[in-house]
Protein backbone atom coordinates (compact mmCIF):
# COMPACT_ATOMS: atom_id res chain seq x y z
CA UNK A 1 0.00 0.00 0.00
CA UNK A 2 1.15 3.56 -0.73
CA UNK A 3 -0.97 5.71 1.64
CA UNK A 4 0.01 9.09 0.14
CA UNK A 5 -0.90 8.03 -3.36
CA UNK A 6 -4.11 6.37 -2.20
CA UNK A 7 -5.02 9.39 -0.06
CA UNK A 8 -4.54 11.66 -3.06
CA UNK A 9 -6.61 9.53 -5.45
CA UNK A 10 -9.46 8.81 -3.02
CA UNK A 11 -9.77 12.44 -1.93
CA UNK A 12 -9.48 13.89 -5.39
CA UNK A 13 -12.19 11.52 -6.61
CA UNK A 14 -14.34 12.21 -3.53
CA UNK A 15 -14.18 15.99 -3.99
CA UNK A 16 -15.20 15.54 -7.63
CA UNK A 17 -18.38 13.70 -6.60
CA UNK A 18 -19.83 17.06 -5.48
CA UNK A 19 -21.68 18.72 -8.40
CA UNK A 20 -19.63 21.93 -8.02
CA UNK A 21 -19.99 23.28 -11.57
CA UNK A 22 -23.76 23.16 -12.08
CA UNK A 23 -25.63 26.42 -11.59
CA UNK A 24 -29.24 25.64 -12.52
CA UNK A 25 -31.63 22.74 -13.00
CA UNK A 26 -32.53 23.54 -16.63
CA UNK A 27 -29.78 21.69 -18.51
CA UNK A 28 -30.72 18.04 -18.98
CA UNK A 29 -28.59 14.93 -19.45
CA UNK A 30 -30.36 11.62 -20.13
CA UNK A 31 -33.77 13.15 -19.27
CA UNK A 32 -32.73 14.39 -15.83
CA UNK A 33 -31.25 17.67 -14.58
CA UNK A 34 -27.56 17.59 -15.53
CA UNK A 35 -26.36 17.89 -11.93
CA UNK A 36 -28.50 14.87 -10.92
CA UNK A 37 -27.06 12.73 -13.70
CA UNK A 38 -23.57 13.93 -12.75
CA UNK A 39 -24.12 13.06 -9.07
CA UNK A 40 -25.28 9.54 -9.94
CA UNK A 41 -22.48 8.84 -12.42
CA UNK A 42 -19.79 10.31 -10.16
CA UNK A 43 -20.99 8.05 -7.32
CA UNK A 44 -20.75 5.02 -9.62
CA UNK A 45 -17.29 6.10 -10.81
CA UNK A 46 -16.09 6.65 -7.23
CA UNK A 47 -17.11 3.10 -6.27
CA UNK A 48 -15.27 1.72 -9.30
CA UNK A 49 -12.15 3.72 -8.37
CA UNK A 50 -12.24 2.31 -4.83
CA UNK A 51 -12.58 -1.24 -6.17
CA UNK A 52 -9.63 -0.65 -8.50
CA UNK A 53 -7.43 0.86 -5.77
CA UNK A 54 -8.05 -2.11 -3.48
CA UNK A 55 -7.20 -4.53 -6.27
CA UNK A 56 -4.06 -2.69 -7.35
CA UNK A 57 -2.53 -1.37 -4.14
CA UNK A 58 -3.64 -3.62 -1.28
CA UNK A 59 -1.29 -6.58 -1.06
CA UNK A 60 -2.18 -8.72 1.99
CA UNK A 61 0.78 -9.85 4.04
CA UNK A 62 -0.87 -13.09 5.21
CA UNK A 63 -2.20 -14.48 1.95
CA UNK A 64 -3.03 -17.79 3.59
CA UNK A 65 -6.46 -18.72 2.24
Amino acid sequence: MIPKKILLITWFALVLTVPWWFLDGNTQWFGLPAWVTYAVFSAITYSCILGWIIQKYWHPEDDTE
Binding site: M1, P3, I6, L7, T10, W11, A13, L14, V15, T17, V18, P19, W20, F22, L23, D24, G25, G31, L32, P33, W35, V36, A39, V40, S42, A43, I44, Y46, S47, L50, G51, I53, I54, Q55, W58, P60, E61, D62, D63, T64, E65
Partner: protein, 480 residues
Protein backbone atom coordinates in the same frame (compact mmCIF):
# COMPACT_ATOMS: atom_id res chain seq x y z
CA UNK B 1 -45.06 8.82 13.54
CA UNK B 2 -47.06 6.79 11.05
CA UNK B 3 -50.53 8.26 10.78
CA UNK B 4 -52.31 5.56 8.81
CA UNK B 5 -54.05 3.04 11.03
CA UNK B 6 -54.33 0.22 8.48
CA UNK B 7 -51.90 -2.64 9.10
CA UNK B 8 -49.28 -3.49 6.44
CA UNK B 9 -49.63 -7.21 7.21
CA UNK B 10 -52.43 -9.53 8.19
CA UNK B 11 -52.23 -11.96 11.13
CA UNK B 12 -50.43 -14.58 8.98
CA UNK B 13 -47.73 -12.13 7.88
CA UNK B 14 -47.26 -10.84 11.41
CA UNK B 15 -46.95 -14.41 12.71
CA UNK B 16 -44.31 -15.17 10.05
CA UNK B 17 -42.34 -12.06 11.00
CA UNK B 18 -42.61 -13.06 14.66
CA UNK B 19 -41.22 -16.51 13.88
CA UNK B 20 -38.35 -14.98 11.91
CA UNK B 21 -37.45 -12.73 14.83
CA UNK B 22 -37.60 -15.61 17.29
CA UNK B 23 -35.41 -17.76 15.00
CA UNK B 24 -32.63 -15.26 15.65
CA UNK B 25 -32.51 -16.51 19.24
CA UNK B 26 -31.88 -20.01 17.90
CA UNK B 27 -28.96 -18.69 15.82
CA UNK B 28 -27.68 -16.94 18.94
CA UNK B 29 -27.80 -20.25 20.80
CA UNK B 30 -25.88 -21.97 17.97
CA UNK B 31 -23.28 -19.22 18.27
CA UNK B 32 -22.94 -20.01 21.94
CA UNK B 33 -22.45 -23.72 21.15
CA UNK B 34 -19.67 -22.87 18.70
CA UNK B 35 -17.73 -20.95 21.37
CA UNK B 36 -14.08 -22.05 21.51
CA UNK B 37 -13.09 -20.44 24.83
CA UNK B 38 -14.50 -18.15 27.50
CA UNK B 39 -12.43 -15.08 26.65
CA UNK B 40 -12.98 -11.48 25.56
CA UNK B 41 -11.39 -12.19 22.18
CA UNK B 42 -13.78 -15.09 21.55
CA UNK B 43 -16.86 -13.24 22.82
CA UNK B 44 -16.24 -9.84 21.23
CA UNK B 45 -14.30 -10.81 18.06
CA UNK B 46 -15.61 -14.33 17.33
CA UNK B 47 -12.13 -15.70 17.96
CA UNK B 48 -10.73 -13.53 15.10
CA UNK B 49 -11.88 -16.17 12.61
CA UNK B 50 -14.55 -14.59 10.41
CA UNK B 51 -14.71 -15.93 6.86
CA UNK B 52 -15.10 -13.66 3.83
CA UNK B 53 -18.85 -14.28 3.35
CA UNK B 54 -19.73 -13.76 7.03
CA UNK B 55 -17.41 -10.75 7.33
CA UNK B 56 -18.85 -9.07 4.25
CA UNK B 57 -22.46 -9.73 5.26
CA UNK B 58 -21.92 -8.57 8.83
CA UNK B 59 -20.14 -5.41 7.60
CA UNK B 60 -22.97 -4.83 5.15
CA UNK B 61 -25.78 -5.50 7.62
CA UNK B 62 -24.10 -3.32 10.22
CA UNK B 63 -23.32 -0.41 7.91
CA UNK B 64 -26.81 -0.32 6.38
CA UNK B 65 -29.41 0.06 9.04
CA UNK B 66 -32.76 1.56 9.87
CA UNK B 67 -31.16 4.89 8.96
CA UNK B 68 -30.76 3.68 5.39
CA UNK B 69 -34.19 2.16 4.99
CA UNK B 70 -36.24 4.66 6.94
CA UNK B 71 -34.12 7.77 7.60
CA UNK B 72 -32.49 8.07 4.15
CA UNK B 73 -35.78 7.62 2.30
CA UNK B 74 -37.26 10.26 4.61
CA UNK B 75 -34.45 12.65 3.82
CA UNK B 76 -34.82 12.01 0.08
CA UNK B 77 -38.50 12.87 0.47
CA UNK B 78 -37.68 16.18 2.17
CA UNK B 79 -34.72 17.26 0.03
CA UNK B 80 -35.43 15.71 -3.36
CA UNK B 81 -32.43 14.86 -5.53
CA UNK B 82 -30.09 16.67 -3.12
CA UNK B 83 -30.28 13.46 -1.07
CA UNK B 84 -28.01 11.80 -3.65
CA UNK B 85 -25.19 12.95 -1.38
CA UNK B 86 -26.09 9.99 0.82
CA UNK B 87 -24.67 7.59 -1.79
CA UNK B 88 -21.20 9.12 -1.56
CA UNK B 89 -21.60 9.48 2.21
CA UNK B 90 -21.44 5.68 2.43
CA UNK B 91 -18.82 5.30 -0.32
CA UNK B 92 -16.57 7.77 1.51
CA UNK B 93 -16.46 5.39 4.47
CA UNK B 94 -15.06 2.63 2.24
CA UNK B 95 -12.46 5.09 0.93
CA UNK B 96 -11.32 5.62 4.51
CA UNK B 97 -11.25 1.87 5.19
CA UNK B 98 -8.71 1.52 2.38
CA UNK B 99 -6.46 4.03 4.10
CA UNK B 100 -6.40 2.62 7.57
CA UNK B 101 -7.75 -0.96 7.60
CA UNK B 102 -4.67 -2.83 6.31
CA UNK B 103 -2.28 -1.32 8.84
CA UNK B 104 -4.77 -1.43 11.72
CA UNK B 105 -5.54 -5.09 10.98
CA UNK B 106 -1.85 -6.03 11.14
CA UNK B 107 -1.40 -4.13 14.41
CA UNK B 108 -4.53 -5.71 15.90
CA UNK B 109 -3.14 -9.18 15.19
CA UNK B 110 0.22 -8.32 16.69
CA UNK B 111 -1.07 -6.60 19.84
CA UNK B 112 -4.44 -8.36 20.32
CA UNK B 113 -6.69 -5.29 20.11
CA UNK B 114 -10.32 -5.82 21.14
CA UNK B 115 -11.73 -2.28 20.99
CA UNK B 116 -10.89 0.82 18.88
CA UNK B 117 -9.49 2.51 21.99
CA UNK B 118 -6.95 -0.32 22.32
CA UNK B 119 -5.20 1.16 19.31
CA UNK B 120 -5.28 4.66 20.83
CA UNK B 121 -3.75 3.28 24.02
CA UNK B 122 -1.13 1.30 22.12
CA UNK B 123 -0.22 4.32 20.03
CA UNK B 124 -0.20 7.08 22.66
CA UNK B 125 0.15 5.04 25.87
CA UNK B 126 -2.03 7.37 27.91
CA UNK B 127 -5.03 6.33 29.97
CA UNK B 128 -6.76 9.72 29.90
CA UNK B 129 -6.69 9.88 26.13
CA UNK B 130 -7.86 6.27 25.87
CA UNK B 131 -10.79 6.94 28.21
CA UNK B 132 -11.67 10.07 26.28
CA UNK B 133 -11.70 8.27 22.92
CA UNK B 134 -13.70 5.42 24.47
CA UNK B 135 -16.23 7.93 25.84
CA UNK B 136 -16.69 9.50 22.39
CA UNK B 137 -17.21 6.05 20.86
CA UNK B 138 -19.73 5.19 23.58
CA UNK B 139 -21.72 8.38 23.07
CA UNK B 140 -21.82 7.86 19.31
CA UNK B 141 -22.88 4.24 19.69
CA UNK B 142 -25.59 5.14 22.21
CA UNK B 143 -26.93 7.56 19.65
CA UNK B 144 -26.73 4.86 16.99
CA UNK B 145 -28.76 2.45 19.09
CA UNK B 146 -31.32 5.18 19.76
CA UNK B 147 -31.90 6.04 16.08
CA UNK B 148 -32.42 2.42 15.21
CA UNK B 149 -34.70 1.67 18.13
CA UNK B 150 -36.84 4.61 17.05
CA UNK B 151 -36.95 3.20 13.51
CA UNK B 152 -37.95 -0.22 14.78
CA UNK B 153 -40.81 1.35 16.74
CA UNK B 154 -42.14 3.02 13.57
CA UNK B 155 -41.97 -0.28 11.70
CA UNK B 156 -43.85 -2.24 14.36
CA UNK B 157 -46.62 0.38 14.45
CA UNK B 158 -46.90 0.34 10.66
CA UNK B 159 -46.82 -3.46 10.37
CA UNK B 160 -49.52 -3.99 12.96
CA UNK B 161 -51.50 -0.84 12.17
CA UNK B 162 -50.93 0.40 15.70
CA UNK B 163 -52.23 -2.79 17.34
CA UNK B 164 -48.79 -3.08 18.95
CA UNK B 165 -47.89 0.41 20.24
CA UNK B 166 -44.50 2.03 19.52
CA UNK B 167 -43.17 1.41 23.03
CA UNK B 168 -44.16 -2.28 23.18
CA UNK B 169 -42.58 -2.94 19.78
CA UNK B 170 -39.31 -1.35 20.85
CA UNK B 171 -39.27 -3.32 24.11
CA UNK B 172 -40.09 -6.73 22.53
CA UNK B 173 -37.52 -6.55 19.73
CA UNK B 174 -34.85 -5.13 22.06
CA UNK B 175 -35.39 -8.11 24.32
CA UNK B 176 -34.80 -10.55 21.45
CA UNK B 177 -31.62 -8.72 20.43
CA UNK B 178 -30.11 -8.61 23.87
CA UNK B 179 -30.86 -12.34 24.39
CA UNK B 180 -29.06 -13.59 21.29
CA UNK B 181 -26.26 -11.07 21.72
CA UNK B 182 -25.47 -12.21 25.25
CA UNK B 183 -25.77 -15.88 24.27
CA UNK B 184 -22.92 -16.00 21.77
CA UNK B 185 -21.40 -12.51 21.53
CA UNK B 186 -19.86 -11.51 18.20
CA UNK B 187 -20.26 -15.02 16.73
CA UNK B 188 -24.04 -14.94 17.27
CA UNK B 189 -24.26 -11.34 16.10
CA UNK B 190 -22.22 -12.05 12.94
CA UNK B 191 -24.26 -15.15 12.08
CA UNK B 192 -27.56 -13.35 12.56
CA UNK B 193 -26.07 -10.46 10.56
CA UNK B 194 -25.26 -12.85 7.71
CA UNK B 195 -28.91 -13.92 7.57
CA UNK B 196 -30.13 -10.35 8.02
CA UNK B 197 -27.70 -8.96 5.44
CA UNK B 198 -28.88 -11.49 2.84
CA UNK B 199 -32.55 -10.63 3.49
CA UNK B 200 -31.73 -6.92 3.38
CA UNK B 201 -29.99 -7.19 0.01
CA UNK B 202 -32.75 -9.26 -1.57
CA UNK B 203 -35.44 -7.00 -0.07
CA UNK B 204 -33.94 -3.77 -1.40
CA UNK B 205 -33.30 -5.22 -4.86
CA UNK B 206 -36.88 -6.49 -4.98
CA UNK B 207 -38.44 -3.19 -3.99
CA UNK B 208 -36.23 -1.33 -6.50
CA UNK B 209 -37.21 -3.60 -9.37
CA UNK B 210 -40.88 -3.40 -8.39
CA UNK B 211 -40.80 0.41 -8.29
CA UNK B 212 -39.11 0.51 -11.70
CA UNK B 213 -41.79 -1.74 -13.14
CA UNK B 214 -44.78 -0.14 -11.45
CA UNK B 215 -44.02 3.59 -11.63
CA UNK B 216 -41.18 4.03 -14.13
CA UNK B 217 -38.16 5.00 -12.00
CA UNK B 218 -36.29 8.29 -12.46
CA UNK B 219 -38.43 9.51 -15.39
CA UNK B 220 -41.67 9.21 -13.38
CA UNK B 221 -40.10 10.81 -10.34
CA UNK B 222 -38.73 13.73 -12.36
CA UNK B 223 -42.06 14.42 -14.06
CA UNK B 224 -44.04 14.30 -10.83
CA UNK B 225 -41.63 16.42 -8.80
CA UNK B 226 -41.56 18.99 -11.58
CA UNK B 227 -45.31 19.38 -11.14
CA UNK B 228 -45.48 19.13 -7.33
CA UNK B 229 -42.30 20.84 -6.12
CA UNK B 230 -39.91 22.01 -8.89
CA UNK B 231 -37.64 23.73 -6.32
CA UNK B 232 -36.28 20.27 -5.48
CA UNK B 233 -34.86 19.93 -8.99
CA UNK B 234 -32.74 23.08 -8.86
CA UNK B 235 -28.99 22.60 -8.65
CA UNK B 236 -27.59 23.06 -5.12
CA UNK B 237 -26.43 26.58 -4.25
CA UNK B 238 -22.76 27.09 -3.34
CA UNK B 239 -23.67 26.88 0.34
CA UNK B 240 -25.53 23.62 -0.27
CA UNK B 241 -22.55 22.27 -2.20
CA UNK B 242 -20.35 23.02 0.80
CA UNK B 243 -22.82 21.15 3.00
CA UNK B 244 -22.74 18.30 0.45
CA UNK B 245 -18.95 18.15 0.75
CA UNK B 246 -19.19 18.37 4.52
CA UNK B 247 -21.64 15.44 4.56
CA UNK B 248 -19.22 13.38 2.47
CA UNK B 249 -16.48 14.22 4.99
CA UNK B 250 -18.77 12.93 7.76
CA UNK B 251 -18.91 9.62 5.92
CA UNK B 252 -15.18 9.47 5.35
CA UNK B 253 -14.08 10.32 8.88
CA UNK B 254 -17.17 9.34 10.86
CA UNK B 255 -18.84 6.26 9.38
CA UNK B 256 -15.49 4.60 8.69
CA UNK B 257 -14.73 4.75 12.40
CA UNK B 258 -17.89 3.13 13.67
CA UNK B 259 -16.46 1.19 16.62
CA UNK B 260 -18.32 -1.98 15.60
CA UNK B 261 -16.93 -1.66 12.06
CA UNK B 262 -13.40 -1.32 13.48
CA UNK B 263 -14.01 -4.46 15.57
CA UNK B 264 -15.05 -6.34 12.43
CA UNK B 265 -11.71 -5.40 10.91
CA UNK B 266 -10.07 -7.04 13.95
CA UNK B 267 -12.31 -10.11 13.53
CA UNK B 268 -11.24 -11.04 9.99
CA UNK B 269 -9.71 -14.47 9.59
CA UNK B 270 -6.97 -13.08 7.34
CA UNK B 271 -5.99 -9.86 5.61
CA UNK B 272 -7.05 -11.33 2.30
CA UNK B 273 -10.53 -11.97 3.72
CA UNK B 274 -10.67 -8.37 4.89
CA UNK B 275 -9.51 -7.03 1.52
CA UNK B 276 -12.15 -8.94 -0.43
CA UNK B 277 -14.94 -7.93 1.96
CA UNK B 278 -14.07 -4.23 1.75
CA UNK B 279 -13.74 -4.48 -2.03
CA UNK B 280 -17.32 -5.72 -2.34
CA UNK B 281 -18.46 -3.11 0.19
CA UNK B 282 -17.23 -0.37 -2.20
CA UNK B 283 -20.17 -1.15 -4.50
CA UNK B 284 -22.87 -1.55 -1.89
CA UNK B 285 -23.91 2.14 -1.73
CA UNK B 286 -24.98 1.84 -5.38
CA UNK B 287 -27.34 -1.06 -4.76
CA UNK B 288 -28.51 0.00 -1.32
CA UNK B 289 -28.37 3.74 -0.60
CA UNK B 290 -29.11 4.80 -4.17
CA UNK B 291 -32.09 2.47 -4.31
CA UNK B 292 -33.46 3.76 -1.00
CA UNK B 293 -33.06 7.38 -2.14
CA UNK B 294 -35.14 6.38 -5.14
CA UNK B 295 -37.80 4.98 -2.80
CA UNK B 296 -37.91 8.29 -0.91
CA UNK B 297 -38.15 10.24 -4.18
CA UNK B 298 -40.95 7.97 -5.34
CA UNK B 299 -42.81 8.78 -2.12
CA UNK B 300 -42.28 12.49 -2.85
CA UNK B 301 -43.67 12.03 -6.36
CA UNK B 302 -46.69 10.10 -5.09
CA UNK B 303 -47.52 11.89 -1.83
CA UNK B 304 -46.24 15.49 -1.89
CA UNK B 305 -46.86 17.79 1.04
CA UNK B 306 -46.12 15.57 4.02
CA UNK B 307 -44.66 17.25 7.09
CA UNK B 308 -41.20 16.46 8.44
CA UNK B 309 -42.33 13.80 10.92
CA UNK B 310 -44.64 12.02 8.46
CA UNK B 311 -41.90 11.98 5.81
CA UNK B 312 -39.94 9.53 8.01
CA UNK B 313 -42.53 6.96 6.98
CA UNK B 314 -41.87 7.51 3.24
CA UNK B 315 -40.73 3.93 2.63
CA UNK B 316 -43.81 2.48 4.26
CA UNK B 317 -46.11 4.79 2.30
CA UNK B 318 -44.65 3.51 -0.98
CA UNK B 319 -45.05 -0.07 0.21
CA UNK B 320 -48.68 0.53 1.11
CA UNK B 321 -49.31 2.08 -2.30
CA UNK B 322 -47.66 -0.84 -4.10
CA UNK B 323 -49.76 -3.22 -2.06
CA UNK B 324 -52.95 -1.28 -2.81
CA UNK B 325 -52.15 -1.37 -6.54
CA UNK B 326 -51.64 -5.13 -6.33
CA UNK B 327 -48.01 -4.77 -7.44
CA UNK B 328 -46.76 -6.69 -4.43
CA UNK B 329 -48.38 -9.54 -2.61
CA UNK B 330 -48.19 -10.45 1.06
CA UNK B 331 -45.00 -12.48 0.55
CA UNK B 332 -43.11 -9.52 -0.92
CA UNK B 333 -44.42 -7.25 1.78
CA UNK B 334 -43.20 -9.73 4.40
CA UNK B 335 -39.83 -9.92 2.63
CA UNK B 336 -39.31 -6.16 2.63
CA UNK B 337 -40.50 -5.69 6.18
CA UNK B 338 -38.25 -8.56 7.26
CA UNK B 339 -35.39 -6.78 5.47
CA UNK B 340 -36.17 -3.55 7.29
CA UNK B 341 -36.36 -5.21 10.68
CA UNK B 342 -33.23 -7.22 9.85
CA UNK B 343 -31.33 -4.05 8.94
CA UNK B 344 -32.25 -2.40 12.19
CA UNK B 345 -31.63 -5.37 14.44
CA UNK B 346 -28.26 -6.19 12.88
CA UNK B 347 -27.11 -2.65 13.54
CA UNK B 348 -28.42 -2.41 17.08
CA UNK B 349 -26.95 -5.75 18.16
CA UNK B 350 -23.54 -4.82 16.76
CA UNK B 351 -23.54 -1.42 18.43
CA UNK B 352 -24.71 -2.96 21.69
CA UNK B 353 -21.90 -5.52 21.61
CA UNK B 354 -19.38 -2.80 20.87
CA UNK B 355 -20.61 -0.64 23.75
CA UNK B 356 -20.43 -3.59 26.11
CA UNK B 357 -16.84 -4.33 24.97
CA UNK B 358 -15.76 -0.70 25.42
CA UNK B 359 -17.11 -0.47 28.98
CA UNK B 360 -15.70 -3.87 29.92
CA UNK B 361 -12.30 -3.63 28.24
CA UNK B 362 -11.52 0.09 28.08
CA UNK B 363 -12.86 1.09 31.48
CA UNK B 364 -13.21 -1.85 33.84
CA UNK B 365 -10.32 -4.03 32.63
CA UNK B 366 -7.97 -1.04 32.44
CA UNK B 367 -8.81 -0.05 36.02
CA UNK B 368 -8.66 -3.68 37.24
CA UNK B 369 -6.11 -5.33 34.94
CA UNK B 370 -5.96 -8.57 36.93
CA UNK B 371 -9.62 -9.51 36.33
CA UNK B 372 -10.20 -12.99 34.88
CA UNK B 373 -11.37 -13.22 31.25
CA UNK B 374 -14.43 -15.31 32.22
CA UNK B 375 -15.44 -12.69 34.78
CA UNK B 376 -15.01 -9.87 32.25
CA UNK B 377 -17.13 -11.74 29.71
CA UNK B 378 -19.90 -12.22 32.29
CA UNK B 379 -19.67 -8.56 33.25
CA UNK B 380 -19.94 -7.59 29.56
CA UNK B 381 -23.21 -9.50 29.28
CA UNK B 382 -24.69 -7.74 32.32
CA UNK B 383 -23.61 -4.40 30.87
CA UNK B 384 -25.38 -5.25 27.58
CA UNK B 385 -28.67 -5.71 29.43
CA UNK B 386 -28.23 -2.44 31.33
CA UNK B 387 -27.40 -0.47 28.16
CA UNK B 388 -30.35 -1.91 26.32
CA UNK B 389 -32.77 -1.04 29.15
CA UNK B 390 -31.56 2.56 29.19
CA UNK B 391 -31.64 2.86 25.39
CA UNK B 392 -35.19 1.57 25.18
CA UNK B 393 -36.32 4.17 27.71
CA UNK B 394 -34.59 7.00 25.80
CA UNK B 395 -35.86 5.82 22.40
CA UNK B 396 -39.39 6.04 23.70
CA UNK B 397 -38.87 9.37 25.47
CA UNK B 398 -36.73 11.48 23.03
CA UNK B 399 -38.39 13.46 20.22
CA UNK B 400 -35.52 14.01 17.65
CA UNK B 401 -35.84 12.78 14.03
CA UNK B 402 -33.70 9.88 12.82
CA UNK B 403 -31.54 12.01 10.51
CA UNK B 404 -30.70 14.58 13.22
CA UNK B 405 -29.68 11.81 15.62
CA UNK B 406 -27.50 10.31 12.87
CA UNK B 407 -25.76 13.65 12.32
CA UNK B 408 -25.05 14.03 16.05
CA UNK B 409 -23.55 10.53 16.09
CA UNK B 410 -21.22 11.18 13.16
CA UNK B 411 -20.19 14.55 14.54
CA UNK B 412 -19.08 12.77 17.70
CA UNK B 413 -17.28 9.93 15.92
CA UNK B 414 -15.35 12.24 13.65
CA UNK B 415 -13.46 13.51 16.70
CA UNK B 416 -11.67 10.19 17.02
CA UNK B 417 -10.54 10.31 13.39
CA UNK B 418 -7.37 12.42 13.78
CA UNK B 419 -5.94 10.11 16.44
CA UNK B 420 -6.55 7.13 14.13
CA UNK B 421 -5.56 8.46 10.72
CA UNK B 422 -2.58 10.52 11.83
CA UNK B 423 -1.63 8.10 14.60
CA UNK B 424 -1.28 5.25 12.11
CA UNK B 425 0.95 7.07 9.66
CA UNK B 426 2.81 9.85 11.51
CA UNK B 427 5.57 8.20 13.48
CA UNK B 428 6.49 11.27 15.51
CA UNK B 429 3.01 12.32 16.51
CA UNK B 430 3.03 13.14 20.20
CA UNK B 431 0.46 12.67 22.89
CA UNK B 432 0.42 16.39 23.60
CA UNK B 433 -0.66 17.03 20.05
CA UNK B 434 -3.70 14.81 20.51
CA UNK B 435 -4.65 16.52 23.73
CA UNK B 436 -4.27 19.86 21.94
CA UNK B 437 -6.63 18.46 19.32
CA UNK B 438 -9.36 17.63 21.80
CA UNK B 439 -8.96 20.94 23.59
CA UNK B 440 -9.35 22.80 20.31
CA UNK B 441 -12.30 20.67 19.34
CA UNK B 442 -14.37 21.69 22.32
CA UNK B 443 -13.28 25.30 22.17
CA UNK B 444 -14.25 25.61 18.50
CA UNK B 445 -17.35 23.47 18.97
CA UNK B 446 -18.80 25.89 21.51
CA UNK B 447 -17.80 28.88 19.40
CA UNK B 448 -19.67 27.45 16.41
CA UNK B 449 -22.68 26.53 18.49
CA UNK B 450 -22.83 30.06 19.86
CA UNK B 451 -22.56 31.58 16.39
CA UNK B 452 -25.05 29.01 15.07
CA UNK B 453 -23.03 28.27 11.92
CA UNK B 454 -25.02 25.82 9.82
CA UNK B 455 -23.18 25.61 6.49
CA UNK B 456 -20.70 22.92 7.41
CA UNK B 457 -21.39 20.36 10.07
CA UNK B 458 -19.81 21.96 13.10
CA UNK B 459 -17.64 19.05 14.07
CA UNK B 460 -16.41 18.49 10.55
CA UNK B 461 -14.97 21.98 10.77
CA UNK B 462 -13.57 21.15 14.18
CA UNK B 463 -11.90 17.99 13.00
CA UNK B 464 -10.35 19.67 9.98
CA UNK B 465 -9.16 22.69 11.95
CA UNK B 466 -7.78 20.53 14.72
CA UNK B 467 -5.96 18.40 12.15
CA UNK B 468 -4.16 21.57 11.09
CA UNK B 469 -3.28 22.14 14.72
CA UNK B 470 -1.90 18.61 14.88
CA UNK B 471 0.16 19.01 11.75
CA UNK B 472 1.51 22.34 12.95
CA UNK B 473 2.50 20.75 16.22
CA UNK B 474 4.08 17.82 14.37
CA UNK B 475 6.14 20.17 12.19
CA UNK B 476 7.18 22.10 15.29
CA UNK B 477 8.40 18.88 16.90
CA UNK B 478 10.37 17.97 13.79
CA UNK B 479 12.04 21.37 13.82
CA UNK B 480 12.93 20.94 17.48
Amino acid sequence: MIQNDSALLGPGGIAFLGLYVLSLILIGWLGKKARAENSLSDFYLAGRGMSMSVLFLTLYATQYSGNTLIGFAGRAYREGFHALVLVTLLSGAVGAFILYAPKLYRLSRKFNFITPADFIHHRFNDNKLTFFAACLCLMALANYVLTNLKAIGYIVVAVTGGAIPFAYGVIALSLVMVIYETLGGMRSVAWTDALQGSILMVGILTIFITIQGEYGGFAFIYDQIQIADPSKLISPTFTQKLTWFSTVCLGFFGISLYPHAVQRIYSARSERTLKRSIQVMAFMPLVTTLFMVLVGLTALALFPGLDRQSSEGATLLVLKDLSARGAIGTSMMVLFLSATIAAIMSTVDSALLSMSSIITKDFYARLKPNSRQAYLTRLGKIISWAIMALSVYLAIALPQTIWRLLEIKLELLIQVAPAFFLGLYLKDLFLKASITHYGKVFEIYHLHRINNIQILHTKVVNALVSKLVLIQYFLFQVQQ
